[in-house]
Subunit: 283 residues, 2 copies
């Protein structure tokens, strides 16, 4: 029920690690996007929205500029204070900007009574990410939850999605940021070929093992793997585990206890069982 007491509204959006992808730009931002697959995480982003005279965005009480969040507020024609807290690092391949955009859309829709459907809000956040150049496929994956497969790119009106049925622990180690734009300029043709191969493997056999193997092959073929990340992945493999690199960030992720078993001290979370959601207020 809409809030008539003036309280802030909160939404939670899972982090999303892309294992492999191919980029599909288009003039229409509803059709632009990426194919690929990834894992949504129980670690994510919480967004709180409340009315304000001028729109402002704060991360852990410090002002920040997040173009896709500003675009979402404009699309809903509201001015709001957006307060973000995050369990996942920014710029490290966890889809934090997509999570902020989608969380803002869900919470602002509820707080201001915008009366949009879930698909409409996902589309608003997806377009905001595409137009800001901050992401192509995180929003639609974060809206679904689980281990989403993006079969066709774009917003809900034009995309096609499936998922790998899986549950369990995910471990990750984040070593810092990677400049997405620079990477994509460098070798987009090679990435698209490698991403298409990886997607065919996962469609043929939609299991977590095949997803990890396809992601690992993609990371090598697309020439994005640094020596440091390659070393961590090899160590996991030497201990009988599977690991790959988050696209795009200096982050290694592994299902189960892959990183712990190899002697690292990773962050542990789990595959998230839900897409983005409003946080229910206690009665």
């Amino acid at each position: 029920m809409p809030d008539s007491r003036g309280d802030p509204v909160e939404a939670f959006v899972p982090g999303h690690i892309t294992g492999f992808f191919s980029a599909h730009p288009a003039d229409d931002p509803d059709r632009a996007g990426s194919r690929g697959a990834g894992i949504t995480l129980s670690h994510g982003v919480t967004v709180r929205v409340e009315p304000a005279r001028t729109s402002q965005i704060r991360l852990d009480d410090s002002p920040i500029t997040v173009p896709p969040v500003a675009r979402v507020l404009e699309a809903l024609d509201v001015t709001a204070r957006v307060s973000v807290t995050t369990e996942v690092p920014l710029g490290a391949g966890f889809g934090a900007s997509g999570a902020m955009a989608l969380g803002t859309a869900l919470a602002a829709n509820e707080r201001f009574g915008c009366r949009r459907s879930e698909n409409a809000l996902i589309s608003i956040a997806h377009r905001a990410e595409v137009l800001s150049g901050t992401g192509l496929g995180d929003v639609v994956a974060q809206a679904r939850g689980g281990v989403p497969i993006r079969l066709e790119p774009g917003a809900p009106s034009s995309n096609e999605m499936d998922g790998i049925p899986a549950a369990g622990t995910i471990e990750y180690l984040a070593f810092g940021k990677l400049d997405t734009a620079t990477v994509l300029e460098g070798n987009l043709a090679e990435i698209t070929r490698a991403g298409s191969r990886a997607l065919r493997r996962v469609v043929d056999e939609p299991t977590l093992e095949t997803f990890m193997a396809a992601s690992r092959a993609f990371a090598g073929e697309s020439d994005l793997l640094s020596d440091r990340l390659a070393g961590v992945i090899s160590a996991v493999e030497d201990h009988g585990g599977m690991a790959s690199m988050a696209m795009l960030g200096k982050t290694v992720f592994a299902p189960g206890s892959g990183l712990s078993d190899a002697g690292f001290e990773p962050v542990r979370c789990s595959i998230h069982d839900a897409g983005a959601t409003l946080v229910a207020r206690s009665d």
Copy 2:
């Protein structure tokens, strides 16, 4: 990761209360289904699957016959013991048979390494429900979670879905079973007209209030409301709440504290934030 130790695998599927619907039969069970909208519940069905020499289904340790579950096992070509526990009553409009079918598909796929995607498993469960005559729209709603809108009928390959963004408490009072088949034979043309009107209202304004109002109107127009259920709904409305009837069961449901406020002693749960999921094993 697939289980190599021989342990059973569990899946949880939320209950689903349909507020209004229109039936759309078709020769192809992937295309048959219903349009409409409903609420998925944090109360649902847990299904445990383990190998067995002959397939058997047990509810709370007593053998039962559930044709859609048997059809799911056949479709996956496995023989299994399926053990069901349920928080929602059977035959009272909570989609329990769809939940059993979908939970069996998810858990059996994992236990026996069937390597099907989420959409493939949803399709198997949807077809099993349609061919058994036990349901038309619960499975796809239970796979999505939240407050699903079924815009186009059928399995994931042919349907179209959206959702109402909402969270919060749901209360319900279940008074017993309703014979779905007899009801549907009686006045399907009237139900389809009333269901189409209700869907247009919710598409125009996808909020929980409009969903409840459209469901209440549908219950009256479709001539399915008994005097007893109508009396409970009126009592909730007299206390400023909203309530309607679960389609199809002798059950009244209300968001928030609608039934409590009117002096009833309902069961309380909440809108479920996730679709059907495997239950993660502890590491």
